[in-house]
Amino acid sequence: MKRLLTFGAAVLLGATSTQAETIAWWLPNWDEKPARAIVADYETANPGEKVEIVITTWDTMAQKILVGLQSRNAPDVITELESRTLRYARKGLLADLTGVVTELGKDDFVPSALATGEYEGRYYSVPFRHDGAGLYYNKDLFAAAGLDPERPPQTWAQLVEYCKKLTVTKDGTTTQYGIAWPLGNVNNGVERYLPLLYDHGGKLFNQDQTRFTLDTPEAIGALDAMANLFKTGVAPMSSLEVDNTGLRELFLNRRIAMYYSGPFDVQPILEAGIKVGTGVLPGLNGMGVTTVDGFSLIVPAHSSKQKAAEQFVAFVGQPKNQARLTATFPPSYTALKYEQFSSPYLQPFIVQLGRVENMPNHPKWNELERILFDNIQAAVLGKKTSAQAMADANAQMNGSL
């Protein structure tokens, strides 16, 4: 009898525990700490709900999410790069999160962030991190070159002039360059060319993304601007060997005086003890353009726990939780005013968010950007003129569509 009772109790307990829903959340390793704290708060606020965290890494997340979504076997909530989400949404692989976005307040989101998940008037992601590039410069090297360490270049013409002054040559070898670019990495390299393109008034495609428009004077002018820095010897050829991380190492070792990067570089540079300044990107007429990217939460369309997933995403999407989770900035206007984003180093990045373009989300972008990348490199190496390079890129990219 007693045994029967315990058995009955166990059955009952079992039944209640299955009522509580456990959802799984894939997130990258650098977000793990704040994510666990947010989950703990969520579980306290919603007794019975459980969130199981699975850690991905930068090197594995793209293919894991891709294969998982396509094979209808992915967790209920995923942290994914903003510029990749629209490609999934178009294929109908993501759940519609318009309700969540509306509940959080559409107007509180930076528009370019929301746009990364918007397809046919519906929202398929809730962004929590959103940032663009800014200019980093070494104040000591500025002072040594007779430049005002508190005034970074404001226009592209000034940037070119500063670069010349900041390039130091000893016995025929250059020991310090004005600037360098991450042209050893396809994504990073193209991400630095596109802002120049937009600043020059160029466009990547026509309206419906069926034709590239890279053989225009604007596109050629943008490439010329970059290639000329190499031609005049103020940017090192080793640019073609580095990605964003490698570029920062060149800066930390005083091989270059300036470079473009996102707000996440502030911390490591300060830790290395460099006197660093930040500024907005110099453009043809005042502030230039930056491309923006970031991270969003998405819910797979096949998830059987949509309700629970949406409830959790709505929790993480609150301004205060965005601010905890983001490694740079939150896309919420409310959260951007928080104390933690008030550091003077970060201000130019926030100002720069006023002139942005999103990253392309063409379905064949990986294949296409590789062609653009090859031709940018060819122009920088002097193997092609900028006009040739852009004509080739345009023809080859259109040929691959």
């Binding site: 894939w26 390793n29 890494t57 930068w58 293919q63 294969v67 094979s71 930390l252 070792n253 996440f264």
Partner: protein, 279 residues
């Protein structure tokens, strides 16, 4: 007299060749080990240095105590050992069969067997994911081991077949006349003679699993199946890479394999040349 001169010369040449090869092989490894002991600020110093100025153990400390590497190492050992053992048993038997018997379909079967190794790994990601999803092997050690077996088994078979073909058939025949079955002849006579080859093949299969990244990156999710190469990628985030810890972990991944191989050196010099079966 002349003969011993020639002997000395050949030894000198051999040493020169070996020392040159050692430099080539070990210079990058030395840089790797040096980096593992360097504090972060020293890694990209100009001019570069082999050895750290201020050696530190903090990278190793971080790898050993602040990462999941212990768990991943256990997974990797289980997966690689399980896979290697299976591949060796199935592969040496099949290899023996292919090298000792003439039968119809020999060529077709051989070619077919190689398929698993010939397809680019990236193309295998999706099909493997689908199968393992269907049978519930995603994120399991067995799943990864099976995926690795697919690429290793064909080559283990073919490499053992090629070693067996260098061993005179007379050896098996003598054993069979002495009353052995074919299987006993393989186990008691052929395998011992081919031992150096088998060790090399085992190492080959083991490393194929131990260092494999592409398949494991998609087929594993949690600590219950993540392997060491996945662990290695966890020292990087989107915008920072902990180079020192990455190199320390890579060093720690390398040492046990070399140590085990070093232990097997006695067995490496057996076989016919050692005179084991001669006469």
């Amino acid at each position: 007299m002349q003969k011993s001169n020639a002997r000395t010369l050949s030894i000198v040449i051999a040493y020169v060749v070996l020392i040159a090869l050692l430099f080539f092989a070990l210079a990058p490894v030395a840089l790797m080990i040096g980096t593992a002991f360097k504090p972060n600020v020293e890694i990209f110093q100009v001019p570069p240095r082999w050895l750290p100025r201020a050696p530190t153990l903090s990278n190793f400390h971080k790898v050993l105590f602040n990462s999941g590497i212990g768990r991943y190492a256990l997974n990797s050992v289980i997966i690689a050992t399980l896979m290697t053992f299976t591949a060796l048993v199935l592969g040496t038997m099949a290899g023996y069969g292919f090298s000792r018997f003439k039968f119809r379909g020999n060529r077709a079967l051989s070619l077919f067997m190689l398929l698993g190794q010939l397809i680019p790994l990236i193309a295998l990601i999706v099909p493997f994911f689908q199968i393992f999803d269907a049978v519930g092997l995603l994120d399991t050690k067995i799943g990864i081991a099976l995926a690795h077996l697919t690429t290793a088994l064909p080559l283990v078979t073919w490499m053992s077949a090629s070693y067996f073909s260098t061993i005179p058939v007379e050896l098996d025949e003598a054993a069979i006349i002495d009353g052995c079955t074919r299987m006993q002849a393989l186990r008691k006579v052929v395998l011992p003679v081919a031992l150096p080859g088998i060790i090399s093949i085992a190492l080959f299969a083991f490393l194929m699993s131990w260092n494999e990244f592409v398949l494991a990156s998609v087929l594993t999710n949690t600590d219950s199946s993540k392997t060491l190469p996945i662990g290695l990628s966890e020292f990087a985030t989107m915008f920072t890479v902990d180079w020192g810890s990455t190199m320390a972990a890579a060093f720690l991944m390398t040492v046990p394999v070399v140590a085990v191989f070093l232990l097997f050196q006695k067995q490496f010099v057996s076989g016919l040349s050692a005179g084991a079966v001669k006469g």
